[in-house]
């Protein structure tokens, strides 16, 4: 949280607990106006700050997706390699049994 945002939050939190009962009509109007401004400014500032980090993260997302794809391809290559190993193993078994039969 930036200092500016922290200051706004402090002001807002203090204003919430202000006893407005004895304020003049003008004072009350000003109070309500300030509260409305703060209730909108604070979440907008929070959103803006989070947005800037989110944008930085999004700029890295393409690289992350690429990394995920490569990981999946590695797993796929291992599966293909496993299938190949099984095929070779079975072939040797068959050759072995054929030789056994021939002899």
């Amino acid at each position: 949280m930036t200092t500016h945002l922290a200051n706004l939050v402090d002001k807002y939190h203090n204003l919430i607990l202000l006893d407005t009962e004895n304020l003049s009509p003008e004072g009350k109007e000003k109070y309500v106006e300030n509260m409305h401004k703060l209730e909108i400014m604070i979440p907008n500032l929070e959103a803006k700050q989070l947005h800037s980090v989110n944008q930085q993260v999004l700029s890295e997302t393409a690289n992350l997706n690429e990394a995920i794809d490569k990981l999946s391809n590695t797993a796929l290559s291992d599966d293909i390699y496993l299938a190949l190993c099984n095929a070779v193993s079975n072939s040797i078994d068959i050759i072995g049994s054929l030789l056994g039969t021939a002899l």
Partner: protein
């Protein structure tokens, strides 16, 4: 090849693959802790969203403008501001899930069940080739004398496959080092923002509760029906503040554990030390949830609000 040859090869292979196997265990531990973090961060974002909606709904009825057009303008602006913040939190949630996808894919590779199958298949191939060699050299006599070698061959195959996986994962981590380091660093910033947004909304909720449920009835000489219970409830809320600083410290430990893996400074003790702290993440937000059940929602019934 006699038994001594197999034993020599096996001893050398054990030496080479022991470190590789240890690295796989460290990678698995850090990846598992990272997945737990992703899950906890997701829950924290969900809790923060709930607080954002609750505070919005509790703020609006307070200090309603007198004029109809001002009421409408306020409602629209407040809705826009709350949705802006909610959209960013939802976006953070999406990128967190994306990082989770990477860790899941890495974990799947580390714990790949086909590793055992591959080891068996390789063992079969090597064993069958050895049988055929034996049969040819011994004019197709029985293979019985070589059966004892078969278990060594299978062990060697298993070690070779483990070494292959360890190298494969090491290569992946080298390749992805920059992307994941950058992503983890940025996610720490996201965590800081989300945690501070969570704390801010919780404090706002407490103050709104204090004003409407305690201060206003007390100062305005209204009948204090149920007031004592609400005041005790308010004290209870203050006592159960979650320690978000600990969550952020734990994330820092997890970040350090990844840095050690990326630097290939594989030291099981230091990694385990980091993870013993990082593992405290697990269930953190679940505890937080049980504590935040006391967050004031009594001003307005929010049970019908949908959380995306």
């Amino acid at each position: 090849m006699n038994i001594n040859n197999y034993a020599t090869i096996a001893a050398s292979t054990v030496f080479v693959t022991a470190c590789a196997t240890n690295n796989i265990h460290n990678n698995a531990a850090v990846t598992e802790a990272s997945l737990a973090y992703v899950e906890e961060f997701d829950k924290l974002i969900g809790e923060t969203l709930t607080h954002v909606y609750q505070v919005d709904a509790n703020e609006l009825p307070e200090n309603r403008p007198a004029k109809r057009e001002n009421k409408k303008a306020r409602l629209n602006k407040k809705t826009e501001a709350t949705l802006n913040l909610a959209d960013e939190l939802i976006q953070t949630r999406k990128t967190n899930k994306q990082l989770g996808r990477y860790f899941k894919a890495l974990q799947a590779l580390i714990n790949n069940p086909s590793r055992d199958s591959m080891s068996d298949s390789l063992g079969n191939i090597v064993s069958n080739i050895a049988k055929e060699n034996h049969r040819q050299k011994n004019k197709y006599e029985t293979y019985a004398s070589s059966y004892e070698n078969e278990s060594y061959l299978r062990k060697l195959s298993s070690m070779a496959v483990n070494a292959h996986y360890a190298k494969s994962i090491k290569d992946i981590l080298r390749r992805d080092k920059d992307t994941i380091s950058q992503y983890i660093a940025l996610q720490q910033k996201q965590l800081d923002f989300v945690a501070s947004t969570y704390k801010r909304h919780k404090e706002t909720a407490h103050r709104l509760y204090f004003k409407t449920e305690l201060q206003d009835p007390y100062l305005n000489d209204k009948p204090l029906i149920g007031w004592v219970a609400r005041r005790l409830e308010w004290f209870e809320m203050r006592q159960t503040e979650p320690d978000l600083e600990a969550l952020m410290d734990n994330y820092n430990d997890l970040k350090k554990a990844w840095a050690r893996l990326f630097q290939e400074k594989i030291d099981a003790v230091s990694i385990n030390h980091s993870l013993s702290d990082a593992n405290q993440l697990i269930g953190f937000v679940s505890k937080l949830r049980s504590k935040t059940d006391t967050v004031p929602t009594t001003l307005i019934d929010l049970s019908t609000i949908d959380t995306p």
